[in-house]
Each structure stands twice: as structure tokens, then as C-alpha cells.
Amino acid sequence: MDEANTRFYIRFSLTQRYLHWALAGTFLGLAFTGLQLRFSTAPWIQTIAHAVGGFGAILFFHKFFAVGLTITFGYHLLMLARGILVERDWGLLWGPNSMMPRWKDIQDFIGNLKWFLYLGPKPKLDRFAYWEKLDYWGVFWGMGIIGLSGYAMWFGSFFARLIPGSWLNIALVLHGEEAILATGWIFIVHFFNAHLRPENFPMDLTIFTGRLSEEEMKKMHREEYDRLAASGGLQAIAADPPPRWLNNFGRVIGTIAVLAGIVMLVFMAVAFVKE
């Protein structure tokens, strides 16, 4: 297709793209350092742990990435609060541009299952698919469970003044199990849904370039496209084509991130089976 004549539309703002990078980077760092502790009995994990500089280094970087992720998450919450409280953008709370679950998500979910089984057409999605909302809320759930339990263990003697000390026993279970759920979700479900499924393979560049082509938008967000086309809102999100360097940057770094996750997934699966 002649790229010069293709129209592009903005899907993610620059800040959102930066936040995704920060989220992906800190998440991979946390997963890499954390899985060494979770699967510490595997001999080859012990080799890795010594190679990366020992327990001191592992714990330092785990906490470093944890603080990084906390800041990333906190920044997102601040933006959200500003959007709602200052800019009075109620669309963040309800409607097609919101991450709030709605009836259409259930319909899309059932529609997609029907499509999987050749029982119906592929559902026409609006701005956010139900699996994207699950990705999003999964971070909230994960931050709540892993973040709180992690900080409780990090500052054990301080948190013990707020919660019973015996809860610190529960903290490690929550932290470790939720970490496996989170990494399993990202490295299997998110990677496939967003990047590796045959429609998008090998990489959906939208989160890296911030924009998608008119054709992509029609394929993946038909309802949003039709809605905006009808209301004349398409013009407001029209954008230049992404520069080639940005496409390549997204392809290279994105592929590295996905491969790193898959390698870790294999590590975890092997260690889990042998445990």
C-alpha cells in the first residue's frame, strides 16, 4: 500500500507510550529478578543468580524496578485524577473511551468466543477490547496484591505496626503466586492478544508509534471508526504516518521485550515442572 496516501489516526498519546515503556521495562526487570527468588532451588537459576551479581544485586534491582513501577503507576493515577477532577472529562469514567467495563464488553466476549468456534462473525470492537481492559485492570489488581505485599515485606518492621506480624507470612504467598499469575498473563495472554496472534504477528506497533492506519482501525476498531466517522470526530485524531525510525525502534525493542518475556516464561515453566 502506498503509505503516503494512507491516513493515520492517533490511538495513544506520547505520555501513554512512555508509560507503556516504563511499565514494560520495570515489569521485565521485576520478573527477571523475582523469578530467581521464586525458583531458587533450580540449579541453573542459582548459576544465573551468581552471574548477575548475587543476592545483593538481585534484591537491589528488584526494589529499584519496584520503585520505578510504583512511580509509573502513581503517575498514571495522577493523570487520571487530573482528567476527571480538573478537566472534568467524564468520558474517562464511562463510555467507549473509558476503561470502565460495560455491557458491550460482555457482548464482545461472547461474540469472540462464538467467532472462535465458527458460530458467528468477529465482533466489531470500539476503542478498547475486553482483553485490553483485562490487561489494564490486571495491573491494578497486581499493583494492589504484589505492590502492597512487597512493600510490607520490604519495610516489615514498619508495616508490622499497621498489620499483624503474622500477615507477613501471607504476604510472601500473595507476592509469589500473584507474580506467577502476572507474568503468566503478560507473557502468554497479553503477548499473544496484542502482538503474536496471526492478525498482528509479529508485533503490533500501535503502542510504540501511538497511531494506526485507517485500514487497521477499520479492522480492529470498526465500531469506534464508524462512530467517529459519523460524528466527524476522525479529523480530530488524524495524524502523520509514523516515521520509519519509530517503526523500526518499536519493532526492535518490542521484539527484544517479547523474546525476553518468552525466555523467562520457559525458565519458569521448566523450574515449575521440576519443583
Binding site: 530467581q36 527468588l37 521464586r38 531458587s40 532451588t41 537459576i45 542459582q46 543468580a49 551468581h50 548475587g54 543476592f55 545483593g56 538481585i58 469472540n112 468466543l113 467467532w115 472462535f116 468456534l117 465458527y118 458467528g120 462473525p121 468477529k122 465482533p123 466489531k124 515485606m153 516489615g156 518492621s157 514498619f158 508490622a160 505496626r161 498489620i163 499483624p164 506480624g165 503474622s166 500477615w167 507477613l168 507470612n169 501471607i170 510472601l172 504467598v173 500473595l174 503466586e177 500473584e178 506467577i180 499469575l181 503468566g184 498473563w185 502468554i188 495472554v189 499473544f192 492478544n193 496472534r197 496471526p198 492478525e199 477499520k218 479492522k219 480492529m220 470498526r222
Partner: protein, 376 residues
Amino acid sequence: MKLWIAAFLAMSLTAAGGAAKLDCLSCHSDKASAKDSVHGGLNCTGCHTAIAAFPHPDKVAPVNCASCHSGPAETLSQSVHAVSGGPSCLSCHGGDPHAILASGDPKASTYAANLPRTCGACHGNAKLAKQFGLAEVYSLYIDSIHGFALTQDGLLVAASCSSCHGSHGILSSKNPKSKTNRANVPATCGTCHGGPLRAYSSGIHGQMLQAGSAEAPVCTNCHTTHEIARVGNAEFQMKTTATCGGCHKDELATYRDTFHAQVSALGFRQTARCWDCHGEHAILPASDPKSTIAPAHLIETCGKCHTGANASFVKYDPHADSHDVAHYPGLHYATLFMNFLLVSVLGFFVLHTLLWFFRARFSHNHGAGPDESRPE
């Protein structure tokens, strides 16, 4: 020249105080060096008692060390070495009967620093080890903290073979009178390690031993016998958890569920192992007010690593068991819930992913868009 020799002989005659020795050396001149041995002050006939006059018969009765050394001979005859083909006096005391040196002489085969090699001639010999069912202990000992201190640093107070086993009266460790018998090991080690012995005796393990328990561990159960390592040594510290866990199986299992154990299993020392909380030698049950894990001491014990430990913090249980609903209901149900969540969420969405993959992979246009993929 002849005059010179005559003068020397005259001097020797005076020094030796009798004609007998000089007479022997006139034929047995190769034994002249005997005067440098520990027995140098004796006449030849002091040992060779069967010879009373010159010339002596071709065959004379062999020398009997026991004629003077009756004590050592007596204990040797009751020792584990009193077996047919076992070592004689000379096997250990230097081989050459005319060159026996006092144990204090650095050249003596029985000098502390030389003793491991002397005993090792048999106890480091694979063939003899097999023949007599001996442990091949020489190489283990020589790399141990004792062997290293003695043979590398020349630290003469470091334990040599005889320090633990005795010398002439060595007995099998199965013999209740043996210095290395289980019941006597603490006293044997305690001859040098007085502090640990005192602490051990006050602890539960020492108390059990005194009460005659057959299960009570002694020094060697944790420190091993010959390959004793420096306790500051990482390799030794890595083994201690499994050592304690050899008896304390349930405690090892529950320890494994903790962060302490994860760090420990990775091979790093910056974490709590058994002895960090329980102590080493003076281990006592929590019910004893003197114990490091008695409720009154927990803040102090945990506080060694966890600065700011407080009464609530030490309610953390380093041996919590998630399978034990009665004692750990919160932990138990939290574990169940997380397992259920993990299996159900990942299970469902992995299936979701697989269905999607096959649907998209095998549809005509790879499932690219909604309009094109309607079933015909």
C-alpha cells in the same frame, strides 16, 4: 691421619663411658648414627639385651621395646591396632630402629605436624583401606581446618590424629571407652574447644546426650569428623540447613516456604539459616526462657538482621505451615485462594488464546477483520 683417628676414638671412649658400644660399632659402623636418636644415651645392649658377649651368635632374639616401654606396649596390645598384620612400634616411630626421635623433634615421624603423613601411610592408602575396611581419611583431614592449620600454618596446637584418637590405645569408635565414641566426642573435642563444649552441654542436644539419648547429635554430626571446615566458610554454611534438616524434617519443610530459604537456596549467606535464630551450641527450645527463640528474646534475635523489629513484627512465623488449617487459617485460605485464582484465570485465558490462535490461523484471511471473516 692415623693419629687423628686414634684421638677421636679415645674421645669417644671417654664420652660413651664404656667399651661395649665402641666394640659394636667396630663391626656395625653403619649404626653409628644411633647416637643422634632419642636412644643415643643408651648402650647397644640396652635394647639388644640378648647379646652379652663378643662374639655373639648369628641369630639373636629380636629387640623388645616393651622391656622398657611397658605402658605403651600394654595399651597398644588392647588397641584397634593389635591385629595380625597391624602396625608395630616401628611402623609409626620412624621405621629405622636406630633413628627413633622424640615426638618433640620436628624431624620425628610422631611430631605433631608429621603425624598425619605417618598415619596416612596406611589411612590414606586405598588398597589398605579396602583390605581392612578403613575409611580413607587422610585426604579429608589434610584439607580440613585442622589439617590446614597444622600442616600449612604449622600451628602445633591444631588437632592432629592423636589429639582425637589417642596414640597407643586407639580404640574403635564403637567401643564405649574410645575417645571417638559418640558419647565421648564432646569431651574429646572439648579438650581444645572448651567454650563450645560448655555451650553445647547447656543446650538441648548436650542435655539429651547426658540423659543417654541415642539420637542426640554430637560435635561430629554437624561438623563431620575429618573434613571439618571453618564455620565462616560459605561452603560449610550452605550445608548446615540440610544438616539440621536431616533430623528436623518438618522444620526444614516449613523453612523452605520462606523468603529466608529462597535466598539461602540460591547460595547466598545474607539470610537467616537455622543457627542464626536458634544459636549453634547452646540451642534451647522456645519454652526455655534462656532460648534465643523464647518469646522474651524474639525481638532481640530477629533484630539482629531486622532493624526496628517490634512485638508485632516477631509474630511472623519463620516456620508457618500453609497446610495446617488449625494453626494458620489465614495463610491456608490465602494460599488456596491464590492457587484457585492462578489456575482458573491462566487456565481459562490460555484456552482463550489457543482457540483464538487456531481460529485466526486457519481462517482464509487470518482473521484480519470483522467484515471479511463472516462465515459463508
